[in-house]
């Protein structure tokens, strides 16, 4: 029997109309729900030789964002992090940052780039006027140089100049006590290595004028073999060695210097040793290497810091890095600033961030401050100590004195023509 279509609207058409109606009725709610989310963009290094640092930055941010979201979000808006790989290339970092704002609709940026990329992202922030917190670049000029100052950019990172002052002060104390006058340096041959070593030597000679640099080595970044550098230093017979090699380069250097028994022949000051990425990888860590604190859960020696380090390890099955605590602090600052501003508007948050002091597990006295004059982080725990081959790796860290840091930093800025 042939079926005849009944007059009127078909069942299919009715369903389609109902569906369309439901969508149009619900649309404002969907839109409102989307507006309740706040997107924060983050270019960082997720591939290549230093991917571990970028990954640890992402991990730390997500750990803290989870807490903020659980507590109700930023002014009632849940945070959605949009994290993209820059491959450690400045031009890619700038492209990604611009895309995150213009295409993905991110209202704020966390710049998880190393120094080279952070200047590129800084220019994007200058151009777009979006709130930007630098979370990884330690190059002092990023915030010390007034030409870089823009009202919407902040730096939540330790600084090379602070490390050099504290490290040189610590090293000078040991140099005087042990009569270490002949020093050698061995640092990677690029801007960070040259600048950091130069600043360290400058302050070392200021604190201990008898010190003389008798040998300098500048191996290239990511050099696989340091044998000729090690033997050159042994020939020079210095009493102490300073190095700002880092990551895999530092661990290679230690392994290769170890079999020449270098560490029993001189005092070694390696600013980047006390970071779990290096401490846990070196199989035969010599006792007694002097190092600055990058991140260790025992400094500052507070329950809050230890708990944070353990929580990170429990979630990601590895210890955090120096980049981790800086990124976590950036989320803490943002949360506090939004609460103070009562809004997620970029300009209002930037105003609230300027000069803001917050409670923080990584503060020298339990707090850290976003200094108003250059919108940079101060008051974080900074110190030097000596290594042992097992946990806690650096059992006794001597804390740096922020009054001295501020004093000498001001002099340094003046000498550079920044003030």
């Amino acid at each position: 029997m042939k079926k005849t279509r009944k007059p009127g609207i078909s069942r299919r058409a009715t369903l389609a109309l109902m569906g369309a109606g439901a969508v149009s009725v619900a649309a404002p709610w969907v839109a409102r729900a989307q507006a309740k989310m706040i997107k924060i963009g983050m270019p960082t290094i997720l591939s290549g030789r230093v991917a571990q640092l970028g990954t640890s930055s992402r991990n730390a941010v997500l750990l803290e964002v989870e807490k903020v979201n659980a507590a109700g979000g930023l002014a009632g808006r849940q945070i959605e992090m949009v994290i993209r790989d820059s491959k450690g290339q400045p031009q890619e970092a700038a492209r990604v940052a611009r895309e995150l704002v213009n295409t993905d609709g991110c209202e704020m940026l966390f710049d998880g780039e190393a120094s080279s990329g952070s200047f590129a992202v800084h220019e994007v922030a200058r151009d777009l006027g979006v709130l930007c917190i630098h979370t990884c670049s330690e190059a002092s000029s990023l915030t010390a140089d007034p030409k870089q100052h823009i009202p919407n950019a902040f730096r939540c990172v330790r600084q090379g100049i602070h490390d050099s002052i504290v490290g040189a002060s610590y090293a000078a104390g040991i140099a005087k006590a042990k009569g270490l006058k002949k020093w050698a340096t061995c640092s990677p041959d690029y801007a960070y290595g040259r600048d950091t070593t130069g600043e360290f030597v400058l302050y070392l000679k200021k604190f201990a004028p008898d010190v003389e640099i008798i040998s300098e080595s500048w191996p290239k970044l990511f050099q696989p073999d340091y044998t000729e550098v090690v033997t050159k230093i042994l020939q020079a017979k210095p009493q102490a060695l300073y190095s700002c090699l880092w990551g895999g380069d530092l661990t290679s250097y230690i392994d290769q210097a170890n079999i020449y028994a270098m560490f029993s022949q001189m005092e070694v000051f390696a600013v980047n040793m006390a970071d779990y990425t290096a401490l846990t990888v070196v199989k035969n860590l010599p006792k007694g290497i002097h190092s600055g604190d990058r991140y260790i859960k025992t400094f500052p020696p507070t329950p809050e810091n230890a708990a944070w380090g353990d929580a990170y390890k429990a979630k990601y099955n590895e210890y955090p890095t120096n980049w981790s605590w800086q990124n976590a602090t950036a989320v803490m600052f943002l949360d506090a600033a939004v609460k103070k501003a009562g809004s997620t508007d970029g300009k209002k948050v930037a105003e609230a961030l300027t000069g803001l002091t917050i409670k923080c597990p990584f503060g020298a006295d339990g707090t850290v401050t976003m200094r108003a004059e250059d919108r940079t982080l101060v008051g974080y725990a900074i110190g030097w100590g000596t290594t042992i081959p097992q946990e806690p790796y650096v059992p006794d860290v001597k804390a740096g004195d922020w009054t001295t840091i501020f004093e000498l930093e001001a002099e340094w800025k003046k000498s550079k023509g920044y003030t």
Partner: protein
């Protein structure tokens, strides 16, 4: 430039011993990588741009074997044998398909595998750097020879590389397989016509080259950090060695590698800011005076 330091070192037996062994160590590891490169080029006429990956795999295989068994000898064996097998598979499955192709196509295939191999390492062992650690047998104070410092592990390293060089040299010159390989390099068509499986010869040579690079990686693993992409910097220096020594020449690879090692060790004293530059300068001088390299043969 610090010529006083260089002159002072040349006049001091202790410094001379330390810097010469330092040069030998750098040179011998480079030789192991470069000789595989030059062997593959000599026989297969392919510039194996992915050769550094075998050095990387050798180091990772050795580290894994050492972690699993605690045996250093087994770690070395795994590093060498694992990369030999990898070399054979790589040659048979991929490289053998582009022998007759344009050089650019060969380079493209090799470069693709540089990236693929790096990602494979990243997926298996992770992106972060690793360290194998020095076996306890070698965690001993260094030896002092004429006042110069020589770590025992480096003596082993030099010894293993020397033995490899001798076996390779004698094997190619005297053994029947060596003669077949040399014949295949000169006239593969004739060798094939004589009933010899040239595919097997090519695969074997590639496996041998990979094995030598893998052995270098395994020997370097206790003193160098392991990262995806670690083969690249070694590859660049190996190319310099093969260019200096002459593409296809094993003796050239040995002499070239030792010269580069000595330039680095003594150059770091006399020309601390120009050590890398010295290597390239030397290469330029060799290329200008002998375009085929020190031991390379003129192409008819």
């Amino acid at each position: 430039m610090d010529l006083d330091a260089l002159a002072g070192c040349l006049a001091s037996p202790a410094c001379l011993v330390t810097q010469t062994t330092s040069g030998l160590i750098i040179g011998m590891l480079l030789f192991l990588v470069a000789v595989g490169l030059t062997l593959i080029f000599g026989v297969l006429k392919v510039v194996n741009f992915s050769h550094g990956a075998f050095y990387m795999f050798g180091a990772y295989f050795a580290m894994t074997a050492y972690q699993l068994t605690g045996s250093f000898a087994l770690a070395m064996l795994c590093g060498a044998a694992g990369t030999a097998l990898l070399g054979l598979i790589f040659e048979r499955a991929f490289m053998s398909r582009v022998y007759g192709a344009d050089v650019l196509m060969q380079l493209l295939v090799c470069y693709a595998f540089v990236l693929i191999f790096d990602d494979v390492v990243r997926m298996i062992w992770g992106p972060e750097f690793k360290s194998m650690g020095m076996p306890s047998a070698f965690q001993v104070p260094p030896l002092f020879i004429a006042g110069g410092v020589v770590p025992p592990y480096y003596l082993l390293l030099i010894g293993v590389a020397l033995v490899a060089a001798v076996i390779l040299g004698l094997g190619l010159a005297r053994s029947r397989i060596g003669k077949v390989i040399r014949a295949a390099a000169h006239n593969p068509g004739m060798v094939s016509a004589l009933g010899i499986n040239t595919g097997l010869i090519y695969g074997g040579v590639f496996a041998l080259g990979g094995m030598l690079a893998g052995l270098a990686g395994a020997l370097a693993a206790p003193v160098r950090s392991l990262t995806p992409g670690m083969g690249f910097s070694v590859l660049i220096e190996s190319f310099i060695v093969t260019v200096i020594g002459g593409m296809g020449s094993i003796l050239g690879a040995l002499i070239g590698a030792l010269l580069i090692g000595l330039i680095r060790s003594f150059g770091s004293l006399g020309f601390p800011l120009f050590t890398e530059g010295l290597m390239y300068l030397f290469m330029v001088i060799v290329l200008v005076s002998r375009p085929t390299g020190l031991f390379g043969k003129e192409v008819a």
